[in-house]
């Protein structure tokens, strides 16, 4: 773009603006590390609306509850998944399938809160999501772009809660295209004039308000924004740099592009990434929406797994595919399935977790509603926090003075190596 300001321009402008911030040197060596040496990242594939366990990772074909879907064998011995996922069947061996997640929240907003934070909604405080905790507890030097990013059109993108709004995910609604608000549309001289004006304005306002002004972090936020606008690390968002075959493998969808950007962000050292796939709320014609969503999820997820393995990033990257709940075993008169928080599935692995396990079981006859070997979300998150080396039950003092543990659960030891 004609007016795109370069890194050098920004450094020049910043100097002219009297900004004495030094851009930290990029830690190239850290970014290039591979295998378990590398700092860990988390990618959450968020299935918004609540996918059916039966048409994804926990099929029961030929039973009363099974619906039309068939099961296929996978590269994990003994594991069968819905036949809508032929590519994932080839890529699932490093991952684990949990088929017995249980929560008490059957509403989208409450369920999302529960599964993103590990806590039930509480009117007196807002808990941080797993991604925000990782980003807060494990700061990264040398990453100029946000360390906690939500990709895709999410209604409730990952949030910092009581850790503060500065830990909210940086939102990229349409990944793979130009970044929102990241470029100035003005010519260089205009941009320089604007920043110069700001200096004059700040000087006038701050006279007599030094201490209070400093606390607002207003000019720090502007400096960081300028730094980000010119960062070379923004290249992570440019999937045009990938080969056509790679882009094709992820699929021509917002979610597919999001997964590809997610892998590129991991390579830049970004800590937590959430990629959202909407459209799972299949109250009517369940099979149809699951078929069309599988056509998006299957290639993207499989390409991501393949890529992470090929690039030796799987040892350092936890991947979790999960939604706010599952769907009822019964099929309703509209051929849909309704909300079901009692026995639903997620897939997770990588980052040093053990792989190839199947945990829990739902009843194909639906004689009992509770799954065997139930797994609670707080336990799942305690496991991931521990894997990242964070004291999972560490209590932080919330702004209202109430101590709150990062997770109320206990790590699931069989998942940890």
């Amino acid at each position: 773009m004609l007016n795109e300001i370069t890194r050098r321009d920004v450094l020049g402008l910043a100097a002219a603006w009297g900004l004495s911030f030094a851009l930290p040197p990029m830690d190239l060596r850290a970014a290039q590390k591979r295998g378990s040496e590398r700092a860990k990242s988390l990618i959450i594939l968020w299935m918004a609306g609540g996918p059916s366990q039966l048409e994804t990772w926990d099929p029961h074909p030929g039973t009363k509850i099974g619906g039309e879907v068939k099961a296929i064998k996978t590269r994990t011995k003994g594991l069968e998944i819905a036949d809508l996922y032929p590519l994932m069947a080839e890529q699932i061996q490093d991952l684990n399938v949990v088929r017995s997640l249980v929560t008490k929240e059957g509403d989208h907003e409450r369920g999302t809160y529960m599964v993103k934070t590990g806590y039930r909604p509480d009117p007196t405080l807002r808990h941080p999501t797993l991604g925000a905790i990782l980003e807060t507890e494990l700061p990264l030097a040398g990453v100029e772009i946000p360390r906690h990013i939500a990709l895709g059109d999410s209604q409730w993108p990952s949030w910092g809660g009581f850790l503060g709004a500065e830990h909210d995910a940086f939102k990229v609604y349409n990944p793979g295209y130009d970044l929102h608000n990241m470029q100035s549309f003005r010519a260089k001289e205009s941009q320089a004039r604007r920043l110069e004006n700001l200096t004059v304005l700040e000087k006038a306002f701050q006279a007599g308000r030094q201490a209070q002004s400093k606390k607002t972090l207003h000019s720090d936020a502007i400096k960081r924004a300028l730094q980000m606008m010119s960062s070379e690390q923004l290249r992570a968002f440019k999937i045009q740099d990938e080969s056509e075959s790679t882009r094709k493998a992820y699929g021509d969808s917002q979610f597919g592009r999001g997964c590809l950007v997610a892998r590129r962000l991991v390579e830049e050292g970004v800590r937590s990434i959430e990629v959202t796939l909407n459209g799972w709320d299949s109250h009517a014609r369940n099979m149809e929406s699951h078929r069309s969503n599988a056509a998006i999820l299957d290639p993207a997820f499989a390409a991501l797994m393949n890529d992470l393995r090929q690039r030796d990033l799987l040892q350092s990257t936890v991947v979790l595919c999960i939604g706010e709940f599952g769907r009822t075993p019964q099929i309703n008169p509209l051929e849909g399935r309704d909300h079901w928080p009692t026995g639903f599935s997620c897939v997770l692995g990588g980052g040093g977790l053990k792989g190839g396990m199947v945990i829990g079981q739902t009843d194909p006859d639906h004689a009992k509603t509770e799954p065997s070997d139930p797994i609670l979300v707080p336990d799942l998150y305690a496991t991931i926090l521990k894997l990242f080396g964070i004291e999972y039950n560490k209590e932080v003092i919330t702004p209202i003075g109430r101590p709150m543990a990062y997770s109320s659960g206990k790590p699931i030891s069989r998942l940890l190596g």
């Binding site: 918004a48 609306g49 008490k104 059957g106 509403d107 989208h108 907003e109 409450r110 909604p121 509480d122 009117p123 007196t124 946000p146 209604q155 503060g164 709004a165 500065e166 909210d168 940086f170 939102k171 929102h180 608000n181 990241m182 100035s184 549309f185 205009s190 004039r193 604007r194 004006n197 700001l198 004059v200 304005l201 700040e202 000087k203 006038a204 306002f205 007599g208 308000r209 201490a211 209070q212 002004s213 400093k214 606390k215 607002t216 972090l217 207003h218 000019s219 720090d220 936020a221 502007i222 960081r224 924004a225 980000m228 606008m229 909407n278 799972w280 709320d281 109250h283 209202i400 109430r402």
Partner: protein, 535 residues
């Protein structure tokens, strides 16, 4: 995705229709067009009491308070807190032309009579009453609830009455809007009595007993049994075809966490049971108890909340974390007693706070020591800098981009644009939800949004109708141009160095460049700390 979203386009379309229809029906509001002398209620005694309270504290603590803020600055604060936007140039000209005594008091009154006040303030109040989450589909109608609040703010219905309606009303969430206080607590098709007990105590008594839901409060005196006793007041509520109802034959049962046995819990209040009436449904009894004139907690909680909405942070912080009422009379008792004695009139409470000394102080103070400034803030001896809420920012940017007042009488197009832009902007800027009245720093996405978003680009790019265009086109000289831009965006005139800076820029500019220079000036004004922080 979730079902609510599918309705959004329809809801938005309906919203526009409502805007259009509403605008054609609403009688033109007189107050904005005629120079007026509103009647100011007799406040001096209470305000003097409040001022004396602070002066005594400051003297005891040997604190030198800040100077009085310029009246224009106080007017900006009032407009932001009560209307959600900064004053327009049109309003500023009228304000400055008004040289009668008690100008700020009269203008506070005028703002309270402005129809924008009801719309904005009902939304702010609703957060503490029904939260910000969507609630259960169909049975929770937030819009009905805020409309009901708005109408009653305009009618000056005593607040204690409103609270009794919220707690005790029966009927449908559509036709009896107060019941949405109850229906907001349905989750997964079940009523969450605990949520209602916790919320009632927070919103109406200003205290937090929520932790006592599961165990005795770790650092306060609340017992789990007290919490359960309060929750039992909501234990007979259920929804039916005719809406929220009480079923007097139902027992409220809770599982004992130790023995796993279901136990029947009888309704009980944690203190002063003698305030309970002898008759009425459980909820009616609780409503009378909460709003009992002897219940200092009720008036103190309301005073602290309104103080918070005016200043951006409660007199005591957090706004609903009050201790038990102290033995010695404090500020909340002075404000609370006045509120009670004047029919629990929220608008009067706002006026008293707006006229008090702390609200009129400058945010400038000679002290530069950070700890000392924190202490000054704690004693309200300097006006705090508080980040504006997203809708205040966008409301202000939209208002700054035009010279006339955007209100009920504005051109429909302006209002439709405002409606859409506000909603998108609020989503991107980030809303703090229910826990909003706390100090928050600025964030990077907010900076990026203010600096680079298309919206800001459009609004600061000069055209025939917006402020940058009209100011650069119509000003007779550079000084007027700069001064007008400052008034429009910052509600003040430029300092000498600022004037010199921009005059030099304008003089150096060629005729073609001139509008670019004005656009850049506008951009900088809207991106300054001063613009986006209440001061």
């Amino acid at each position: 995705m979730p079902k609510r979203i599918r309705w959004l386009p329809i809801a938005v379309a309906l919203g526009v229709v409502v805007l259009v229809v509403g605008a054609t029906r609403t009688a033109p509001r007189q107050s904005n067009r005629t120079p007026d002398l509103e009647v100011v209620p007799a406040l001096p005694e209470t305000v003097a009491q409040v001022d004396k309270f602070f002066e005594t504290t400051w003297a005891e603590q040997k604190i030198q308070p800040a100077e009085r803020a310029p009246e224009l600055q106080v007017y900006r604060r009032l407009s932001l807190a009560l209307l959600g936007t900064i004053p327009s140039l049109e309003e500023l000209r009228q304000f400055e032309a008004d040289q009668q005594p008690q100008r700020l008091e009269r203008w506070t009154q005028r703002i309270l009579n402005d129809s924008r006040f009801g719309y904005y303030f009902s939304e702010r109040l609703a957060r503490s009453l029904v939260g910000t989450e969507g609630g259960e589909f169909l049975i929770f109608r937030r819009d009905r609830f805020t409309n009901w609040l708005r109408e009653n703010l305009q009618l000056r219905t005593p607040y204690d009455q409103l609270v009794r309606h919220m707690i005790a009303d029966t009927g449908l969430w559509t036709s009896v809007p107060a019941t949405n206080f109850i229906s907001s607590a349905f989750a997964n098709d079940d009523l969450d009595e605990n949520k209602l007990a916790g919320r009632s105590v927070r919103a109406f008594l200003g205290q937090r007993i929520d932790c006592a839901q599961c165990h005795d409060h770790p650092f306060d005196h609340w017992k789990q049994s007290e919490f359960q006793g309060l929750a039992a007041y909501f234990g007979q509520v259920n929804k039916s075809a005719v809406g929220i109802q009480d079923f007097s034959n139902v027992d409220y049962k809770v599982e004992n966490r130790k023995t796993k046995v279901q136990e029947t819990i009888a309704p009980a209040v944690p203190f002063h049971p003698e305030w309970l009436p002898k008759t009425g449904s459980r909820r009616e009894q609780l409503a009378v108890w909460i709003t009992h004139p002897d219940n200092r907690r009720f008036e103190r909680a309301t005073a602290n909340r309104i103080w918070g909405l005016m200043f951006g942070k409660g007199y005591f912080d957090p706004v609903d974390g009050l201790s038990d009422p102290p033995d010695k009379t404090d500020l909340l008792d002075i404000l609370g007693a006045d509120f009670r004695q004047h029919n629990y009139d929220l608008r009067r409470l706002i006026q008293v706070i707006a006229a008090s000394k702390p609200y009129r102080l400058d945010s400038i103070h000679p002290s530069e020591d950070e700890n000392q400034v924190e202490e000054l803030k704690a004693q309200w001896a300097v006006f705090p800098l508080i980040r504006l809420r997203p809708e205040q920012i966008i409301g202000s940017i939209l208002q700054a981009s035009t010279l006339g007042t955007i209100d009920q009488n504005s051109h429909l197009l302006f209002r439709a644009i405002r409606f859409f832009r506000e909603n998108d902007f609020v989503k991107e800027y980030g809303d703090l939800g229910e826990n909003e009245l706390t100090e928050q720093p600025g964030t990077i996405p907010q900076a990026l949004l203010r600096m680079n978003s298309k919206l800001i680009g459009d609004l600061t790019e000069a055209n025939l109708v917006n402020s940058p265009g009209r100011i650069s086109g119509l000003s007779p000289n550079d000084a007027t141009c700069i001064e007008t831009a400052y008034l429009v965006a910052l509600t003040r005139r430029p300092t000498a160095p600022e004037l010199a800076h921009f005059t030099a820029q304008l003089q150096a500019a060629s005729k073609n460049e001139r509008s670019k220079v004005v656009e850049d000036m506008f951009w900088s004004l809207c991106n300054s700390l001063e613009f986006s922080w209440n001061h």
